[in-house]
């Protein structure tokens, strides 16, 4: 997840307030979309996927302390509206653990939601183009493009914040240097995240295609009485 690792009190007030307003609008809209009974039964799924994202962030993929974020996978599993709710939940819990500022929860929700929604959309498009058998490639490609786009959004947010008046004379932020660092180190994270996303989606699409492709039949028919299991 492209997470705004900016502490409280660094970004201009108008910027993080705007983030909260946008996030509130997105979450409110998403909550309205989740009101029906069929949607409501998926709220536990939102909780589970959010918890999965949090657990994944505490697991090292390889012993270099890199952690995956599973944003594209969350988007594929939840869809856009429930994915936005998950984005807000994860951003808030991370802030409660001291991982990211409280005032920037809104901006982090926007970033996370952008990854979830974009990842969902791109995966759908790529899966249609490449075919369901290449879900791994679709997932990996969607992840790289999504993370590149949201990294750009992150730089744009920092660009908006780079005004000298926010904190007085010492407030200047070197946007060029920040963008250079982010876009130099970022592709390493994109590649790792894409690799893990590709393996996970490839694995799940073979074992439980109904989870990845909404209208696919389960690989194994559920026993009578258990038809409710699996979506």
């Amino acid at each position: 997840m492209t997470h705004l690792h900016v502490p409280d009190g660094v970004l201009p007030v108008w910027l993080w307030v705007a983030g909260w307003i946008i996030a509130a609008g997105l979450v409110g809209f998403a909550a309205r979309a989740a009101r029906g009974r069929e949607r409501a039964r998926r709220i536990p799924l939102v909780g589970v996927v959010s918890a999965l994202v949090l657990v994944a962030m505490s697991i090292e993929v390889v012993p270099i302390a890199y952690h995956v974020n599973l944003t594209v996978i969350a988007g594929v599993l939840l869809g856009p509206w429930l994915g936005i709710i998950s984005a807000f939940v994860v951003a808030t819990i991370l802030a409660l653990l001291g991982h990211g500022g409280v005032t920037v929860i809104g901006l982090n929700t926007v970033l996370f939601a952008a990854e979830v929604v974009l990842g969902w959309a791109l995966f759908g498009v790529l899966a249609r183009i490449l075919g369901k058998r290449r879900a791994a490639w679709a997932g990996g490609g969607a992840t790289v493009v999504t993370l590149a786009a949201t990294t750009g959004l992150l730089v744009a947010i920092v660009a908006l914040a780079g005004t000298p008046d926010a904190m007085g004379e010492t407030a200047a932020i070197s946007l060029g240097r920040f963008a250079t660092v982010v876009f130099t180190l970022g592709p390493i994270g994109w590649a790792l995240e894409a690799a893990v996303t590709a393996v996970v989606l490839g694995f799940v699409s073979r074992v439980r295609p109904d989870l990845v492709f909404r209208h696919a039949a389960p690989r194994h028919a559920a026993p009578p009485g258990d038809e409710g299991l699996g979506h």
Partner: protein
């Protein structure tokens, strides 16, 4: 990330802060965050940090986990300050703000059970969102336990080795895939169980009453005083 440790500290502690009303603690944290936002002086930020650490020490909350929790955002604040080309002064301010804000929220998290942090927010959050917070809390421990067992199984069979990164990524991905499938079934079971218990799209958490009014008053007064001093420092000094 030690959500389990934080949760254990929150439900098993006996300090005065544990007895304070969750709403008072939320308001106090909001005051500290506001002070962090307002100040532009690293010395003021250092003062806030000293006050919070002194409070934590006096309440015997355990300085080591608190400091470690604050070092994590401090690391990223250093990276951000360096990447953004901030000078030493602004850089110190950025890192200081990260530490103080983290100390405040982690002290809240370590003295207040998670559902009680969510309870006041339920009034302003849509039902779906509030319920998602609670389902996340419930699911996290189940998934963390499952992930731990999966990781142990992987270690016993082959392990993840840096010298074979492709195999490591593939193995980690399949482990996550297995955890994901388990979590999907967990979500369905959760819903079925909650429906049997009468769940109708709103989980209500009753806010805990305060067990120490004096602590609430002292906490709020202290937080307001910190905010007032910080504002005065910013605009009058």
């Amino acid at each position: 990330m030690r959500l389990a440790d934080v949760d254990l500290a929150a439900v098993s502690g006996t300090s005065a802060l544990h007895r304070a009303a969750p709403r008072a603690k939320l308001a106090a944290v909001a005051c500290v965050i506001a002070a962090v936002v307002v100040t532009t002086d690293a010395r003021a930020v250092a003062g806030l940090a000293v006050v919070l650490l002194a409070l934590a020490a006096q309440q015997r909350l355990g300085l080591r986990p608190l400091v470690l929790s604050a070092l994590y955002p401090a690391f990223f604040a250093v990276v951000f300050a360096w990447a953004a080309g901030a000078g030493w002064v602004f850089g110190a301010l950025i890192v200081g703000k990260a530490v103080v804000a983290a100390l405040a929220v982690v002290m809240l998290a370590r003295t207040t059970p998670y559902p009680q942090v969510i309870a006041p927010l339920q009034r302003v959050l849509p039902a779906a969102v509030a319920d998602a917070f609670l389902f996340t809390y419930r699911s996290f421990f189940l998934l963390a336990e499952k992930a731990s067992r999966l990781a142990r199984a992987v270690r016993l069979r082959a392990g993840v080795h840096l010298e074979r990164p492709v195999a490591a990524v593939r193995l980690s991905g399949r482990m996550l895939g297995g955890l994901l499938i388990y979590s999907m079934d967990l979500a369905q079971r959760d819903y079925d169980v909650m429906r049997l218990r009468g769940y109708e799209r709103r989980l209500a958490v009753a806010p805990l009453p305060s067990r120490s009014r004096a602590t609430d008053v002292a906490l709020l007064a202290g937080a307001f005083a910190l905010l007032a001093l910080t504002v005065a420092w910013r605009f009058l000094a």
